[in-house]
């Protein structure tokens, strides 16, 4: 069997005396969609943020595409990487945030081309052409010259997805992408994410959208108190949760 695209082993992260991620092992295979579920404070977002080194783990490691994130292994030691090396690793991992975090002083187009131009991968003209394709793909063709504030929340989040895709990532991280949206705008963002999953993108998603997990996920991972208490295909986990905490949570949200 091929090596999984994402391998997380023994990952641990605490803030002060508060252990937020506690000895987590997780694999995500190429083309797979894994959804992280659990109550707030379960450590879902922190786990996700460790994958692109926005949080530095206290112990354990994250491997993406065969590379340890944030470190280099040599002589039985993990040496912290220089910022430029971490920047290069991050450039193949897309991330979408709860609060969109579009750059408000740049137009939609400039938001999308910023990453590819910074990486020096594309010329301005190529990057613009690619950005327009991506905007069409997320249903926002013709809005290239708008500023983020002129768009609805759902539109902003779709731009954020296009911005992440512009880097041609091999892995996409979604941190509660629909939690800051009005209910009627959630569907358009989930729609884009479904299309993305169908196109074969490897995705790691933190969400409270059970319907999305049920329909799109290959694996559902349930976290509580920083630990994985349940994981498996959605049909199995939702129909027959073995762990008490998962059962209580799922009965409340289903």
């Amino acid at each position: 069997m091929t090596r999984p695209l994402v391998r997380i082993r023994g990952l641990r992260k605490s803030f002060g005396s508060n252990v937020v991620v506690d000895d987590v092992d997780l694999d995500v295979r190429e083309g797979e969609v894994a959804v992280l579920l659990g109550p707030s404070g379960a450590g879902k977002s922190t786990l996700l943020r460790c994958v692109n080194h926005l949080e530095k783990p206290d112990a354990g490691f994250v491997e993406v595409g065969g590379e340890i994130i944030g470190y280099r292994y040599a002589h039985q030691r993990l040496h912290e990487l220089r910022p430029s090396a971490i920047t290069r690793q991050r450039s193949r991992i897309g991330m979408v945030f709860q609060q969109f975090n579009l750059f408000p002083h740049l137009t939609v187009l400039d938001n999308i081309v910023e990453g590819p131009l910074a990486a020096g991968r594309l010329s301005k003209k190529e990057a613009t052409g690619r950005a327009e394709e991506l905007l069409a793909r997320v249903g926002l063709a013709g809005r290239a010259q708008a500023y983020p504030r002129q768009l609805s929340g759902g539109q902003q989040q779709r731009v954020a997805i296009a911005r992440a895709l512009a880097m041609e990532p091999r892995l996409m991280l979604f941190d509660e992408p629909t939690s800051a949206l009005d209910p009627e705008l959630v569907g358009e963002v989930l729609g884009v994410m479904k299309d993305l999953a169908a196109s074969g993108m490897t995705m790691l998603v933190v969400t409270h959208e059970i319907g999305f997990a049920r329909e799109v996920a290959d694996t559902v991972v349930f976290l509580d108190g920083g630990r994985i208490v349940e994981s498996g295909p959605p049909a199995e986990v939702f129909a027959n949760p073995r762990h008490d905490r998962a059962r209580v949570f799922l009965s409340a949200v289903l």
């Binding site: 926005l54 975090n101 579009l102 408000p104 002083h105 990453g115 500023y147 504030r149 880097m167």
Partner: protein, 309 residues
Amino acid sequence: MSDRFPSDTGLLGARLVPLRRPGQWVSAAVVVVLVAMAVHTLFTNPRFQWPIVWRYFTTAPIMNGLVLTLWLTAAVMICGYLLGVVLAVMRLSRNSVLRLVSFGYVWLIRSVPPLVQLLFWYELASLYPELSLGIPFGPAFVTVKTAHLFTGVLAAFVGLTLDVAAFSSEIIRGGILSVEHGQVEAAQALGLGPLRIFRRVVLPQAMPAIVPASGNMLISMLKATSIVSVIAVQDLLYSVQLIYNQNFLIIPLLLVATIWYVLLTTVLSIGQYYVERFYARGSRRGGSRGLWAVTRSNIPLFRNLAGIS
């Protein structure tokens, strides 16, 4: 009955009577009279000696002083702000030594009056007769006598630059802190390097918080450069003083300097408006308003006239 409970038709048909505000009329009238008196005396008091003001307005010594004031202000602001950015970044860095040094610098410079600083740099020769460039605590390669080095203009430049650096670093630091941390995270996740994040994401978003305070500082520095007259640097004010010390036309010559300062401040204020508008792009839903529209909306009389026409 009808007075206690007016009919609905009566209420619907009633004319609205706005509250009378006699106080507003009285206060406006008082202020208008006072302003009229002030303007009137400007033109009728012969001791202002306006013909002399205009005669000296563009003479060579005044223009030379004006040029010195302008380039000294520009040099001090540019170098002060470059140093200010460095100090702000030091203050926000993870390195505690850099943080402490930046904090100490700002504390010290803000504590010392600029005039004292200016005199200090002017008198540096009595404290350090010579300065050397070499290995710290080791041999020196180049040595210069400070008495030759620190002329009035250089002392003024150094003193004011250090002062601007301290104040601007606080303005810049405040601006940087006003940028949401999510912006930096999004840029990191996108694979932007630290320098590019600062230049492309943080600084442009810090500018709306930095520009108004900096415009204020630029304008006050334009006038604050006049303290260099105490160390005999011939700026606009000192040039004027040199002339009236000879001919005793004190008021008209002070007016010459004043009018120049007013003109320059006006130009800078208009410039600030356009810079602010540039950095506000993306923060408004509608289009931007021109300078004239903004001015008009700030003057109720003009707004009323516009409404009538």
